[in-house]
């Protein structure tokens, strides 16, 4: 009896990744590579933005160009980088972590992915239409977003709304897939409280997508109708209400930030145990906190629009917003508790996790400041907010994404990444992000609004520092790209468990076969992260390990 499930495959040909495939592992890589392609584009836009902001005057690009740049920077970073890269990680990690052969709906999975280059093309194309791209920020508030000076049907805003709608559909299809997979396809013995935290946070995040995205889509449909068909949902002169759009927009877009950060939380929860050689502290609390965040995350959206709403709404949403600090804090303390009295190994993934944790705590503190209405009235729509959210997104979520890539790179490519380049990437990222985003806080406190193409001279000093940080961040991507390409092409071959980690995915060859465990899914018999406990994770674990080691030795 042969065991196709245990033979490491010859490394897959690069050609697989360029075609239509229904294999979640291929789709996962496709998502991630496409996402980083757009990351570089949006990053380039950021370099131009920070170049303009080196000096107070609007002297680098025309103001309309600047407005298009900042709008597309935000839009591309969110819809073409962040959400796709996270969906890529979901595709790679969820099936092996739960012992499934693939996603519940493999063809739907591929369709959801291939929509990304389509709406990506639409957004990039918007730079080349006569009206130029959308220029009203990634929020696209009416009435300003409805002002179509050229009067043409196919304008930047039109393409923007279309792209965002397609992105929403792609994400909803993905969410249906991820949720069904996690609910229905777990290995025997893997009850919910034996599931890795990454799957808990993925389930939580995708639930938020399912509940929130349709509200955005509805609001966007009405925006498109106003723009193109002359309706007045949001036009005051026709009886409409611009603030109505803001409610629809933020009802989704606040939960969206939890969609972004929850997977990073999941990654930190997976990695701190491995690199501390210690169980995750309070696994059940960490898992449950994910869903408390889901519940609270749906009732805080008004904190984005305090200056537009009545007093009673401000107090109510201030209180709900403050409450989110509690389950989030539980997770942060759990990571600290995991590190405490562990045996810490400062590998590249661990460095990104620690840096991410520190940045996240800082962002959480400014978040609590923003939640309190009196302070928010002063700093909303200023650079204080820009600093806050870049700390969360770049400082925490993106660092989590990098940590995940370095950690699971050997599993899915079959090769080890270079540690030296990885550490260099970390140092440049940590320094660059802090230098770029910390100065934004005094700028906001001093009263510099966001989205400005020029500013009063007293803001120059901190802007110069921020721009230097941005350029450093730009440079930091170089060792990352070099590492990824070089390691994938000629890095040392990886065995099935280079980090000596505990998890179902580490009981598969590197890279895993197309159907992962196939018909031989092991039965899970203990909780995850059992470091130091000398208990196997699954039945027949010793035999599985032996077979893998033997196959690698005879490779």
């Amino acid at each position: 009896m042969t065991s196709t499930a245990l033979v490491p495959e010859p490394l897959p040909s690069w050609r697989r990744y360029f075609g239509f495939s229904t294999d979640a592992k291929v789709i996962g890589i496709q998502y991630i590579v496409v996402a980083f392609f757009f990351f570089l584009i949006a990053g380039l836009l950021a370099m131009i933005i920070r170049g303009e902001l080196l000096t107070p005057a609007s002297d680098l690009v025309d103001r309309t160009v600047y407005n298009g740049l900042y709008t597309m920077h935000g839009t591309i970073m969110l819809f073409l980088f962040t959400f796709p890269v996270l969906n890529g990680l979901n595709n790679l990690l969820i099936p092996p972590m739960i012992g499934a052969p693939d996603m519940a709906f493999p063809r739907l999975n591929a369709v959801a992915f291939w929509m990304v280059p389509v709406f990506g093309f639409l957004l990039i194309a918007s730079f080349f239409v006569p009206s130029g791209p959308a220029t009203s920020g990634w929020w696209s508030y009416p009435p300003v977003s409805l002002q179509n000076p050229l009067g043409q049907l196919i304008n930047g805003e039109f393409l923007w709304v279309l792209a965002v709608a397609l992105s929403g559909i792609s994400s909803i299809l993905g969410a249906v897939n991820f949720v069904t997979t996690i609910l229905r396809m777990r290995a025997p013995g893997m009850g919910f409280f034996r599931m890795p935290v990454f799957c808990w946070t993925a389930l939580a995040a995708q639930t938020l997508q399912l509940i929130g995205l349709p509200a955005l889509t509805g609001g966007a449909v009405m925006l498109l109708m106003d723009l193109t068909l002359g309706t007045s949902f949001y036009r005051p002169e026709g009886g409409g209400d611009p603030v109505l759009y803001q409610h629809f927009f933020w009802f989704y877009s606040h939960p969206a930030v939890y969609v972004i950060i929850l997977p990073a939380f999941g990654i930190f929860s997976e990695l701190f145990p491995v690199y501390s050689r210690k169980p995750l502290f309070g696994y059940v609390y960490v898992a449950v906190a994910s869903f408390i965040i889901v519940g609270l995350g749906l009732v805080v959206w008004v904190h984005h629009i305090f200056p537009s709403v009545a007093q009673w709404m401000r107090n109510l949403f201030m209180v709900t917003t403050m409450l989110i600090a509690v389950p989030t804090g539980v997770k942060v303390f759990a990571w600290l508790g995991t590190m405490w009295r562990g045996k810490i190994k400062l590998t590249t993934p661990m460095l990104f996790c620690i840096g991410g944790l520190i940045n996240f705590v800082f962002a959480g503190i400014t978040g609590v400041m923003l939640a309190t209405v009196p302070v928010d009235i002063h700093v909303s729509n200023t650079y204080f907010v820009v600093g806050h959210f870049h700390y969360v997104i770049y400082g925490a979520a993106v660092m989590g994404i990098f940590a995940a890539i370095y950690h699971w790179f050997p599993k899915f490519t079959g090769r080890m990444p270079y540690e030296g380049l990885g550490k260099l990437h970390f140092v440049l990222t940590f320094l660059g992000a802090n230098l770029n985003f910390l100065p934004m806080h005094p700028l906001g406190l001093m009263g510099m609004p966001r989205r400005v193409s020029s500013y009063d001279p007293e803001f120059a000093f901190w802007n110069v520092l921020a721009s230097l940080g941005a350029f450093l961040l730009g440079v930091s991507i170089i060792p990352f790209l070099l590492n990824m390409i070089s390691s994938w092409v000629r890095g040392p071959r990886a065995n099935h468990n280079p980090w000596n980690a505990i998890g179902l995915e580490w009981l598969l060859p590197s890279p895993p076969p197309e159907d992962n465990f196939g018909d031989h899914v092991p039965t899970v018999i203990s909780r995850p992260y059992g470091y130091g406990k000398d208990e196997p994770l699954v039945e027949h674990q010793a035999e599985i390990e032996r077979a893998l080691t033997l196959a690698e030795a005879t490779r």
């Binding site: 537009s308 508790g337 705590v361 503190i365 002063h378």
Partner: protein
């Protein structure tokens, strides 16, 4: 190999060292809270001390939390690093229910306390209405909406456009593109927009209000410091959004009265709107960007004022 075990009892030396460290963190946090005031502009309205007090408090608490977390991380990196070739696992501590309860309850109490404080401040900021009699200069009494002596509020109509700010004093027949306010006198603004969303934001006052087309929004404040300050558009409003700024002059009652009197007599002329000049230059050069909404013509006002004099904040 063991299941979760309690932390071993720290010796008295460790306790003293810990206490000292916490004391140091408290000291730094208090210092940071003091520093926070320097990051903010001068206080020019009766709202500013309230907002700043809350912000300083949050900075202090936040500094303590941040230092605490960083201390723990630093400690683990110093003391709990794995030995060079040690591949073995650490103690299998899976959790500690008491600790979980502590670090759920304490943050809950803390954020609710901050929320309670913030609601108090918010209520005071929202206490508005011409009949409030509060003395903002009096350290003893609460700061709130209005100066004592029941001064009625001055009425100012604010018209936001793409891209200029027009101020009208309806009782006095004066209009301007430079906002003049009387020291210590409450003012009620009536905010309207002729086109898109704008943001009425004066950092020195710590107040902003979104201006929504189709609505007239009443907004109140009391300036408390003589000087020249910036009003900035804070809600993205199109191409020349960044240039949509105006100056706010807070002056004594006498100066204010004479400004109004001179203004009423002045003929109407074009007010300030940097966007108009930039647009004209842009048209002359040949557009270097994408099509834009044409700026509204500058409002015709009695007193254009200036937006290039040095300002305090």
């Amino acid at each position: 190999m063991s299941s979760s075990s309690p932390l071993s009892r720290p010796g008295s030396f460790s306790l003293i060292a810990l206490a000292l460290w916490i004391g140091l963190m408290v000291a730094i946090s208090v210092w940071m809270a003091g520093q926070a005031q320097h990051w903010l502009p001068v206080q020019a309205s009766n709202a500013a001390p309230l907002v700043d007090g809350l912000f300083r408090f949050e900075t202090g608490v936040g500094s303590f939390v941040f230092l605490g977390v960083v201390s723990v991380v630093a400690w683990t990196l110093l003391v709990h690093r794995a030995e060079k070739y040690d591949e073995s696992d650490a103690e299998p501590i899976e959790g500690n229910t008491r600790l979980e309860v502590i670090w759920t309850v304490i943050p809950l109490v803390l954020v609710m306390a901050i929320a309670w404080y913030a609601i108090q401040v918010n209520t005071k900021l929202g206490v508005l209405g011409p009949m409030e009699h509060i003395h903002p200069r009096n350290a003893q009494e609460e700061l709130g909406g209005y100066l004592g002596d029941r001064l009625p509020a001055e009425q100012v109509e604010v018209i936001a456009r793409q891209w200029s700010w027009e101020f009208r004093y309806p009782g006095r027949n004066v209009s301007s593109t430079e906002l003049h306010l009387e020291l210590d006198r409450p003012v009620t603004f009536r905010l309207v927009s002729e086109d898109v969303l704008h943001g009425f934001y004066i950092p020195a006052f710590r107040l902003k209000q979104d201006v929504i087309p189709g609505r007239a929004i009443n907004f109140n404040l009391t300036p408390t410091r003589v000087g020249r300050y910036r009003l900035r558009d804070s809600q993205f409003s199109g191409t020349w959004f960044a240039a949509n700024q105006a100056d706010v002059v807070v002056e004594s009652a006498d100066d204010h009265a004479s400004w109004l009197k001179q203004g009423a007599a002045a003929p109407l002329q074009s007010g300030l709107s940097p966007a108009v000049g930039e647009y004209a230059d842009r048209q002359a050069r040949g557009p270097a960007g994408w099509p834009t909404v044409v700026p509204a013509p500058p409002p015709q006002v009695n007193v254009p004022g200036s937006n290039s004099l040095p300002h305090d904040a």
